[in-house]
Symmetry: C2
Subunit: 578 residues, 2 copies
């Protein structure tokens, strides 16, 4: 289903119910560009640490626009033994809400735009009919503005009232001072005489109506109008929050979200529809290692993956498009339409999950998205093109790979790859990963050659070689120095989360008969339980600094709290299968 500004409001309930009934969701995004700085090979260096990769993407990718968001919901139908799918294709554009609302600027990269154009992307749907959105901060600001305007209006009325009352009292005071006997006279006026006075006073613009009558009719009318106005304002606000409401619904649903190479999708989703991305401090991410099927699938492009997962030992999953939804045909590839990509992503996930079932005794043909078998892959974001760290782990420590065969080399900027090959020609095959114009990682094929290379370089003037360990240590020291000089770490523009961390842990629970172990593991990954329910980034960081043992806990919970992902949205990259 194509969703633009035109049919967004009418489609919202369909989207909500699709999310609510789904077993899992697949997502995909299309962006206006990838990198506003380094080229793709520098952006995705093969020896990046997850922190480096995250920091680079945050710095160089977040000014682009996620302008098409694909969502495909998968619901398993037991009677038909197949998944019923509902694909959505949202076109998103930051249309300014009013004159005072933020006028978003975003970058377009001509190569990315040209690529999408060659795939038949409809830019008019984005720019002319894209659904608006607001992040938390903008939403809060807008609500505040509306509130303020309402108060100002009330205050203006009040002050008008005060001025008026003051004036009347002043006049009566003057009359009392100069013509005290008038009061007695007015008091004894006949009904007719009073009416005459009222009429006379009309010249001043006073509508001198009997008070009781006025208040009755006006009050009701006023209340009705105020109620209407309030409702209208609320609706306008909701319209402005726009597509972010879909993301909130996904977040609140607690459903499993599946993506392909989804680090950038997740980052854009948070950045655009939630809040600015946090800086990654030391120890904010830890790495561990999980590998499967790597030998079986070598090409990770979505199209290739889909083809391979149709063949043995995998099985092509049975799916059916729900009534009223556009039925995709995998024979007619519509790759790089976000909705189609999300659909294919979901299919791949089902194939992979079902394959896991073949290892059980007796083998199972259908494995649910909530199965314990899939659980090890939760909250792992695949890291594209990193040689030895397949994914970034959101909820736990990650692998620190052995990189003792890697050298960090700095050299004059005139050097090219061939110079490095020549320099290390004595050490057999090498692999060069460029960092920037004057530095690169060089991986030797044999670790025992490292010391020899180090010794050889001792007297070199034009270049310098460090082991990977020395390089990491140096970076660490630089960071600590930086930390000592700039103490404002906690105040770096990071927005305090408005969302509270739900304390009902394990909303995404595994299949019932395996619940016991889950209890333990969910506690292990969710220290929000022993916090106050709301853990902000700063609190978590401070906590982490106070108690080294609890550091990892505090930190990753804070991140999840910010994303409102802690137990609600569990993110899986099936790419970590690879």
């Amino acid at each position: 289903m194509e969703v633009t500004r035109r049919n967004y409001k009418d489609s919202l309930n369909t989207v909500y119910s699709a999310i609510e009934e789904a077993d899992f969701l697949a997502i995909d995004g299309e962006f206006s560009g990838i990198s506003d700085g380094p080229n793709v090979s520098a952006l995705t260096n093969g020896l990046d640490t997850p922190e480096e990769r995250y920091t680079k993407l945050k710095k160089h990718s977040m000014d682009f626009l996620l302008f098409q968001f694909g969502l495909c919901t998968f619901k398993y139908d037991q009677t038909k033994s197949k998944y019923i799918i509902k694909p959505f294709n949202f076109y998103v554009f930051p249309k300014p809400f009013n004159r005072t609302s933020p006028d978003i600027k975003f970058i377009c990269q001509s190569s990315s735009i040209d690529f999408l154009a060659s795939q038949g992307f409809d830019f008019n749907k984005v720019f002319c009919n894209g659904i608006p959105y607001l992040n938390q901060e903008e939403e809060a600001q807008l609500r505040e503005q509306t509130e303020e305007r309402r108060n100002q209006h009330a205050n203006a009325l009040l002050s008008k009232c005060h001025t008026y009352t003051g004036f009347v009292f002043f006049v009566f005071f003057l009359i009392y001072i100069f013509f005290p006997h008038l009061y007695l006279y007015v008091y004894f006026l006949t009904r007719f005489q009073r009416k005459l006075i009222y009429q006379t006073l009309n010249w001043k613009g006073f509508t001198w109506k009997p008070l009781k009558q006025k208040s009755k009719v006006d009050d009701e009318e006023r209340k009705r109008r105020e109620q209407q106005k309030l409702e209208r304002e609320q609706e306008e606000l909701n319209d402005a929050v726009g597509f972010s409401r879909v993301i909130h619904a996904i977040s609140k649903s607690g459903k499993l979200v599946v993506g392909h190479n989804m680090l950038l999708d997740v980052m854009h989703t948070i950045h655009q529809f939630y809040c600015p991305l946090p800086e990654m401090g030391v120890g904010l991410f830890f790495f561990f290692f999980f590998l499967m099927f790597q030998e079986m699938i070598t090409n990770t492009s979505l199209a290739e993956l889909e083809k391979q997962l149709k063949e043995g030992p995998f099985k092509s999953p049975q799916v059916e498009t729900a009534e009223g939804f556009h039925s995709y045909d995998t024979a007619q590839e519509q790759l790089h339409e976000a909705g189609y990509d999300a659909y294919i992503t979901g299919l791949c996930f089902v194939s992979m999950a079902n394959y896991l079932g073949s290892f059980l005794t007796p083998p199972k043909a259908y494995i649910s998205a909530r199965s314990k078998l899939v659980e090890p892959f939760f909250n792992k974001l695949f890291l594209m093109r990193i040689i030895d760290i397949p994914y970034l782990n959101i909820t736990g420590p990650d692998l620190q790979p052995k990189r003792d065969h890697v050298l960090y080399v700095t050299f004059p900027k005139e050097w090219k790859t061939s110079d490095l090959y020549q320099l290390f020609s004595a050490f057999g095959n090498i692999q060069v990963s460029w960092i920037d114009d004057t530095s690169a990682f060089v991986s030797l094929s044999q670790t025992d050659q490292v010391q020899i290379a180090m010794n050889t370089s001792r007297y070199a003037e034009s270049y310098r070689i460090q082991t990977y360990a020395e390089y990491i240590q140096g970076k660490q020291q630089d960071k600590e120095k930086l930390g000592q000089t700039a103490k404002t770490w906690g105040d770096d523009g990071w927005v305090k989360s408005h969302y509270t961390s739900s304390t009902t842990s394990g909303r995404l629970s595994p299949i019932p008969d395996e619940e016991e172990e889950e209890e333990e593991s969910s506690e292990g990954t969710n220290p929000a339980n022993d916090a106050e329910g709301t853990v902000t980034w700063q609190q978590a960081t401070r906590k982490g600094q106070k108690n080294k043992k609890k550091k990892s806990k505090g930190v990753f919970v804070s991140l999840l709290t910010l994303l409102n992902l802690p137990e609600t949205v569990q993110t899986v990259t099936w790419c970590s299968f690879l």
Copy 2:
């Protein structure tokens, strides 16, 4: 005529001939945004100097994309007594030429995009079918790359040939050393024996054909192929230069170019299709004052202007759309389509020019675009929203307006406009022009109040007041200091122009009977005549620094040389009429 990548090559000759035959050209551009920094009111402060305005636009507007270029050519038909027009609407997009060509990033401003969308703008025509373009530097780089590749290919062939020849000589040398008698033997071999040897040598992969026969056929074929390849390369290069060729044609035509609020259009055109914009140094622009019709037309929006110029004392001009071109109907407004805006702009110019004719004795109903009457308006770029400087003069000194009623006020950033009104409440009506959060210009209604205001503020702590003269002096001093510390002024990334300044001055000559005076004036505005024919920015600047008297000359010529506009494209803003 709509021109996209699809019909660009076929339309090029039509465009060229339309430009060639035209009396004058009207242009207009549509952009992906206006400002990536300050809001529009700060970007167009009412008391900007032309230099400040230019610098601000250069800093905050050049990262947007000019993606629709409107060109309307006007040719006067004596027999019909009306203009024949040819409107073009070019869609422009920096589609990367190949993998190594620059991957342009540009900003989009959501309010601008939303505005264009509301006007029915077709973004698919830009992003899917926009004509590519290259500026001079990119073009030169691409030509260099192609040349290099060709040389590399030739070198590779040559080195292959050297290696081969070397090997053959080495073999013959060995034979000569070890079996000298073999030579005599070969010398006396029969034809049949030789053939046998040739065949035997075939096992080594040598295709041992009679030399003469081979060279004849291969040489012709090789030449033909090389020629074909060269032509193909040349065509690919021309395709890559793309829309810039239209701009080059306009520039070379020497035709009068008319625009509406065209400062931004001119800057974008130069920046996108020629070269990076120069920095404005001290004294690079001078200001003088020319005012006309100001009381007659108050609203300068294009739609309003067009309406007013249909009524008395102006006359609606007679125009006819050339055959095969889309005929615009001014009743059905298509404003903010660049081609239509260019068309309306041209109409307005004709109305205004003809109005000038009504002052002649006897009055003339038709005034040519080359008339002496229009000449005072040449090379004046209208400055939007500046109170007392209507335009930026490209070819001469500009007005330095009397601003002795203006105060420069600095204050805490909590201050709002109301605080300034309160502060100056004793001095009657004021006008506030914000500069940034902590400073603004305050114009008093009476100049004699300035000294009183200055005296009053002497002991103030929270704010500070300077006269406009003091403010300008301070800025000047700051700049001089900066100039002393940073001596790299001439090397600030400015690209040396590849274009030579044509020495045939006055290509845009006035009507014949007024030619004598023109000779003088064109000399006055074209010191390239006494230079070497090619004046670069640096040369001009150095010249300006050496000879203070010649400064203004050197400077504006250099600018024009860079734009390749000096005598070729004469730019008029009819807005300076206002």
